[in-house]
């Protein structure tokens, strides 16, 4: 071998040795092994603190109850809450907010979490079990009076009152821990009339519903609006349609999808409109609607025989109600139900406003109705509210078969479920009670409307209105 060749060989060897031993890592990456270890460590610390009693685990309702007197509660004690994610911002219909409910099935309370993060769904996915260490956080509302209780990271005072603000990125990372479990969320099945403020944040399902007739051919979002669009859902449970609003954000990816025209089930999260006045349903995913069945037709009064009917058209405006055979009784205070007329429509109304009484309890009781003359009776009426500020300012519907026509408090009264107006309904808007099944009753039945209020507490001086009360029987 010549000298030159020798040198060349050495070069070649050196070159290739260097080249192949000098690997630069620039691809072929695998899933990082440290994934989630930090979060797991924090969760384990929290769980052991709960185990040892250093931290108390509260229920979602307990946490909501920490908020009192329109002032956000700053959490200084070692408490935590566990829940399951009921919302998803995958489609953009939720923005920097997450709803948490207390159980995957049959939930009883939901709460909102506000945080400075978008696309939370790919971290706090639907059904995920999440622990929140509440120490250092706040519980309050984002707008005082809406009744939507939220966990936030700080507070501010503005035109909406003293409210909570979003958790910072750091607060989120050090307070919210996912467990490894993702539960299957079984939606709570409700009818429109059953929805109330305690359902906020829960994942619910409505059956037999469809979009209102005038919405056919429209999209989820109305392009002339800036933020949210409400679309009316209707169901055929009673006489005429009962309705509920589906609200969709302008940022939802499905905003331009056309509304389905069939009837079926809809699942979503109960939330409130921005102003806090009305409860609405918000979708996580557009496929949570399964509206493929034939549209429903609501029953009309023609489908029934009217056993009893009071439309209050004989009312004399602003007089104490004195219809024959009706009982108008004040259990507390002096104010009684009054006859009212507005725009030619007569109705009964009770308001404790101006009564001066610390407590008003007013009863309005129908004449006795013979329940033996026919079968399959239903009760139906319309009710509205105005100036209602609190669920404690309450209207109840009660039934009795042993009322003697005069001694109200001596009779046995049973409350029945009815769709009643709440704070979330616009003032003066009559709400259909739905058909309340009375077929199990016999003898003489009395229907009572009992309002609890106060003339001295302005939070309890709202008014209730009753109209178009009917007892019907199927033909």
């Amino acid at each position: 071998m010549s000298k030159k060749n020798k040198i060349l060989s050495i070069f070649t060897i050196v070159t290739f040795t260097l080249a192949f031993t000098s690997c630069v890592k620039d691809d072929d990456y695998t899933v990082p092994d440290s994934l989630g270890t930090e979060e797991n460590a924090r969760l384990n610390t929290l769980l052991s603190d709960i185990q040892t009693g250093n931290t108390t685990l509260l229920s979602v309702q307990n946490v909501k109850d920490l908020y009192q007197n329109a002032t956000p509660a700053f959490i200084e004690t070692s408490i935590a809450v566990k829940g399951y994610i009921s919302s998803s911002d995958r489609t953009g219909n939720f923005f920097k907010e997450i709803y948490l409910q207390d159980a995957p099935e049959n939930p009883t309370a939901g709460i909102k979490i506000i945080l400075n993060q978008v696309d939370t769904y790919n971290q706090y996915n639907f059904g995920r079990e999440v622990y929140i260490k509440l120490t250092g956080l706040y519980v309050g509302e984002e707008r005082v009076g809406t009744g939507v209780i939220a966990i936030g990271g700080s507070t501010q005072t503005n035109q909406f009152g003293t409210t909570v603000k979003k958790m910072t990125e750091n607060q989120r990372a050090t307070s919210m821990f996912r467990s490894e479990n993702t539960a299957t969320i079984i939606p709570k099945t409700l009818t429109f009339s059953q929805v109330n403020a305690s359902d906020i944040g829960l994942y619910v399902q409505f059956e037999g519903v469809e979009f209102a007739d005038n919405l056919i051919g429209l999209q989820y979002f109305d392009p002339i609006q800036d933020f949210d669009t409400s679309r009316n859902l209707q169901s055929c449970g009673g006489i005429g349609y009962s309705t509920f609003n589906l609200e969709t954000s302008s940022f939802a990816s499905f905003k331009d999808v056309f509304l389905p025209t069939g009837n079926g089930t809809v699942s979503g999260v109960i939330t409130k409109t921005f102003d806090g006045r009305s409860l609405v349903l918000a979708l996580n995913e557009v496929n949570e609607l399964n509206l493929t069945g034939p549209r429903c037709t609501p029953m009309t009064t023609e489908d029934f025989t009217v056993v009893f009917n009071e439309d209050f058209q004989s009312a004399v405006n602003n007089t104490i109600l004195d219809f024959p055979e009706w009982t108008n009784f004040s259990e507390a205070g002096t104010f009684k139900w009054r006859e009212k007329i507005f725009s030619g429509n007569g109705y009964a109304e009770f308001s404790s406003n101006g009564s001066g009484s610390v407590s008003n309890i007013a009863w309005l009781i129908t004449p006795g109705i013979d329940m033996d003359a026919q079968d399959n009776e239903f009760l139906n009426f319309n009710a509205a509210q105005h100036h209602l500020d609190s669920p404690l300012n309450m209207l109840e519907v009660l039934l009795s078969t042993d009322y003697d026509g005069s001694n109200v408090l001596a009779a046995t009264w049973t409350a029945v479920d009815a769709a009643l107006p709440s704070q979330s309904n616009p003032w003066y808007q009559f709400v259909d009670s739905g058909l309340i099944n009375l077929s199990s009753y016999s003898g003489t039945l009395y229907v009572a409307f009992k309002v609890v209020g106060s003339g001295t507490n302005t939070a309890l001086d709202g008014a209730y209105q009753i109209d178009d009360l009917k007892i019907l029987a199927t033909n």
């Binding site: 040198i7 070069f11 260097l18 899933v31 790919n122």
Partner: protein
């Protein structure tokens, strides 16, 4: 040794050979290998006689040569210049065979590898284009300085970018059809074997091509043209790669008429100057030549230089202030290692066959065919189901919180600042976690890593004729054909733990491919866009060169026919049917070029040179299709681009001083520029009021540009060991009209999804792209003991930000109803739209080395330090396309730190390069 004596002897011998004509002829060889050296400049000192040696290293002067004692100056870049005294007698031939040249161990060709690392030659890291590669073989002090000293500032000679310079390998043009630029990295890391270069600068004639306005350079890779021997080089640097090793060997012409040259190189590094800019490149070169007979030879060349490297980001000033000029937003830690999300991979082998045929001593025909294939990939993160993963996304920075519409949110600003300072990189763990979380709910990927791909297959063939009609007239002509199929698509390269990518536009749920709606795509699958661009180019070139005693002149013409066609493979939902799918309309462009010039020799010391040219050329592919990723549409009314250019020079040369002073003027007309960005603050009666933000393609059409200025270069060999250099470039490069601006976007519900914004008031704004003023002074000391050093100080001024044309349209001051904003104040508007001029700066570069000769071997060493003073300076930048109207820009500008400030590139701080080699 006694060569001079021998030469004189030759001279005397030549007395004997009686001839009617006085002739000086000879040849030049490498002192060590004895191989002939082509393209050596041979000058009769003090006269206007200059020739270059041919491929056999031979030259001759025939007519009217000066008589008596003369000095022949023999020079070539990379070799030490020599002066040979001769005696010329009337009617006699002086024949000086085998004059030898020694390799200059400190030559600029070496320097080139020092100051320029290959990534700087490609436009994507610096934001500007670099023409240095074109000029590296120049002997002109001005061009040489521009190539080596100004390169890190992205200085463009005469304001022209590399699109205007043709780079050839063996006569085959290597500029690509997409943007007209040469892809330097295709032959990166092979410095030893791409060193044989011939430059024709500006309009000056080349034997191979008509060339561009900036000139042309031809890299010769014929195996027989390399000096016999081998070389091993090792380099270390902290610029782009950390290590480089190159081994090369040439056999020279061996038995059977064969010659073989081979080279292997590797460049690698974990991190360059900017964070996480890894470098990983191998290079292979093989050239085999077979001399078929005395007249013909066949050469095969293959070049394969796969290259992967991590890119770095341009950043706003806010980001640089919070971090540093090394900050790069593209990376984050994964498993404790820095992972860069933006990787550029170039992997385009070149195969070439060249036939050289010397038909007669006066005529040669060179026929070439080349095939290039492979891929260029640029990776990036897509985030269809997650927030923008960019750590410097504007909403994550303090400025965003301070610009809150409810007044400055100091608390959030502080939190943003701390978060960015302590972390501020891509959170790969969160990305994987998001995808794994989505897997559990059967949701498609929140994030994927994909590559924008250009897979080009190019066939090029040409034949070049060179013939000397007589001693005064030479003719060059060529015919060229190019066929390109360019496959363009996005491909998933890493699912990042997810199960699949939903192939829709997540922003507005539009299907990327209606043929396969809602397709879930896995690794290796094509997403987003998929189309081919087809191009066919036929061109011809003819040139006549005339050489006389007092004047040399030339005239050249070229003509070309270019056709383009797009073939959509995806059917985009916004452009259903043939609008996006299948073959679109075929576009045809006819190019023409004419140029001419002369060199008038007042005396041997004083020369005047003048050139003028007019070029009509097809727009390149990039600027032809208005939105090639989505549809078949092209820029409406598109037409050929026109360039007219003139220059005039005064050249002085004496044995001590060489100088050139040039004035130039060039004008570009009917150019188009297409760009993509996310625009905020659009207002037009055609755009819905709640739709003022959109991802848009901006088509700036019919742009005229004007460039004029002067160049001065002086070098003086003040003593045999000391050389002084001085260079000045003063230019003014501006837009010369108010071009028309059209935006297209699938978000627009207008006819053809386009909105015409009318004129963009760009006239007299400066063009971006490096400093328009540059000065350099330096010296070289060359010790006879083979060590040397040099220092240069460079000063740069008049570097401008790239202005956003949209802000210069009526969109800027008109509200959606077509009337000016009621708070519009022209005086404030003028201030807001004033073009940012970057600070002037000064660079000092040092270089030095030593070499040893041991027997027949050389060992050499050199080192350079660039930007010794660690000056911090901006090399370029661009205005962001957001804030496109007066109100938004005013609101943003009123904050201490704008949310959408311009993005900048900074030059590197002090960096080093060390090189050692062994040559035999």
């Amino acid at each position: 040794m006694k060569k001079s004596f021998l030469i004189i002897l030759f001279g005397l011998f030549s007395l004997a050979t009686t001839n009617a004509q006085t002739t000086i002829k000879g040849s030049v060889v490498d002192a060590i290998s004895d191989e002939p050296i082509p393209s050596v400049t041979v000058t009769i000192e003090g006269s206007d006689f200059i020739v270059q040696t041919d491929t056999n290293g031979e030259f001759s002067f025939t007519s009217d040569v000066p008589l008596g004692e003369q000095v022949l100056v023999i020079e070539k870049i990379g070799y030490l210049t020599k002066r040979y005294p001769i005696v010329v007698n009337e009617g006699k031939t002086v024949d000086i065979r085998d004059m030898s040249l020694d390799v200059d161990v400190s030559s600029s060709a070496e320097l080139f590898t020092v100051t320029l690392t290959d990534d700087e030659l490609n436009d994507d890291t610096g934001g500007a284009d670099n023409i240095s590669g074109l000029l590296q073989s120049s002997q002109d002090v001005f061009q040489n300085t521009a190539a080596f000293e100004f390169s890190s500032s992205f200085f463009n000679v005469r304001g022209l970018d590399s699109e205007n310079g043709i780079v050839m390998i063996n006569g085959i043009e290597m500029n690509n059809e997409f943007d007209g630029r040469p892809q330097w990295s295709n032959w990166g890391g092979l410095n030893d074997v791409v060193r044989n270069q011939e430059l024709s600068s500006g309009l000056s004639p080349s034997n191979y091509t008509f060339g561009g306005a900036l000139g042309s350079t031809n890299i010769n890779t014929r195996a027989s043209q390399y000096r016999k021997g081998g070389r091993l080089t090792y380099s270390s640097s902290d610029r782009s790669y950390n290590n480089r090793i190159i081994a090369s060997y040439s056999t020279g012409l061996i038995e059977g008429g064969w010659a073989v040259t081979a080279a292997v190189g590797r460049r690698w590094g974990e991190e360059g100057f900017q964070e996480a800019t890894f470098y990983n490149s191998n290079s292979f070169f093989l050239s085999v030549e077979k001399k078929i007979n005395e007249k013909q030879s066949l050469n095969f060349t293959s070049i394969y230089a796969p290259n992967r490297r991590g890119k770095s980001s341009p950043n706003t000033q806010e980001v640089y202030d919070l971090k540093s000029i090394k900050y790069n937003e593209y990376w984050g830690y994964q498993n404790g290692e820095k992972r860069n999300s933006r990787v550029k991979e170039v992997n385009e082998p070149i195969l070439m066959l060249n036939h050289n045929w010397n038909i007669s001593s006066k005529t040669s025909l060179n026929t070439n065919i080349a095939y290039q294939f492979g891929k260029i990939g640029n990776s990036r993160l897509d985030y269809p189901g997650g927030p923008n993963p960019s750590p410097s996304y504007y909403q994550k920075l303090p400025s965003y919180a301070l610009a809150d519409s409810n007044g400055p949110d100091y608390e959030q600003a502080y939190l943003n600042e701390q978060e960015f300072l302590t972390d501020g990189q891509i959170d790969w763990n969160r990305i994987y976690d998001a995808n794994l979380t989505n897997n559990s709910g059967d949701t498609s990927a929140a994030y994927v890593l994909y590559e924008d791909r250009n897979d080009d297959k190019t066939i090029k063939a040409n034949t070049i004729l060179t013939t000397d009609i007589n001693d005064h007239v030479a003719i060059n002509a060529s015919v060229n054909y190019t066929n390109l199929k360019s496959e363009n698509f996005a491909e998933i390269i890493d699912l990042l733990g997810s199960k699949g990518y939903l192939n829709i536009d997540s922003f507005d749920n539009i299907q990327f491919d209606l043929q396969n709606p809602n397709q879930i795509v896995g690794k290796g699958g094509k997403i987003k866009y998929n189309y081919n661009l087809l191009a066919n180019i036929l061109s011809g070139f003819a040139q006549a060169l005339f050489k006389y005693n007092k004047i040399d002149f030339y005239i050249a013409a070229t003509t070309s026919n270019t056709s383009y066609q797009r073939e959509g493979l995806f059917e985009h939902e916004s452009y259903p049917g043939n609008a996006s799918l299948g073959k679109g309309k075929k576009l045809t462009f006819n190019g023409f070029g004419g140029k001419g010039g002369f060199t008038y020799k007042l005396t041997g010391k004083h020369l005047l040179d003048f050139n003028a040219g007019y070029i009509i050329k097809a727009p390149n592919l990039k600027n032809t299709y208005s939105n090639s990723r989505e549809n078949n549409r092209f820029v409406s009314g598109i037409t050929e681009e026109k360039i007219s250019t003139v220059d005039a020079s005064y050249i002085f040369r004496s044995p001590i001083v060489k100088a050139r002073l040039t004035g130039y003027y060039s004008k570009t007309q009917d150019a188009n520029e297409i760009s993509f960005y996310y625009a905020d603050g659009l207002s037009s009666s055609d755009i819905a009021e709640n739709d003022t933000s959109a991802f848009v393609q901006e088509i700036l059409q019919g742009i005229d540009k004007k460039r004029f200025g002067g160049e001065l270069g002086i070098e003086a060999q003040v003593t045999p060991t000391i050389k002084l250099k001085g260079v000045a470039a003063v230019g003014q490069y501006t837009y010369d009209n108010n071009a028309n601006l059209v935006l297209t976007s699938s978000s627009f519900e207008t006819l053809e999804n386009r909105v015409d914004f009318g004129q963009a008031n760009l006239k007299d704004y400066r063009l971006a792209g490096g400093p328009q003023t540059a000065f350099s002074v330096g010296f070289e000391y060359r010790d006879p003991d083979y060590w040397w050093f040099g220092a240069t100080t460079n000063f740069f001024a008049n570097t401008y930000v790239d202005v956003s044309p949209l802000s210069r349209t009526k969109n800027f001051y008109l509200d959606a109803d077509g009337l000016p904003f009621n708070d519009y104040d022209p005086a404030i508007a003028r201030k807001l739209l004033k073009q940012e001029k970057f600070d002037n700066y000064t660079n000092v570069n040092l270089v030095g080395g030593k070499s040893w000769k041991i027997d027949d071997y050389f060992i050499g060493f050199f080192a350079s330090v660039s930007n010794v003073l660690d000056a911090v300076y901006k090399t370029g930048g661009f205005e962001q396309g957001r804030n496109a109207n007066y109100r938004e820009l005013l609101a943003d500008a009123s904050h201490d730190t704008p949310v959408f400030g311009s993005k900048y590139w900074y030059g590197r701080g002090a960096t080093y390069f060390v090189n050692v080699y062994f040559r035999f």
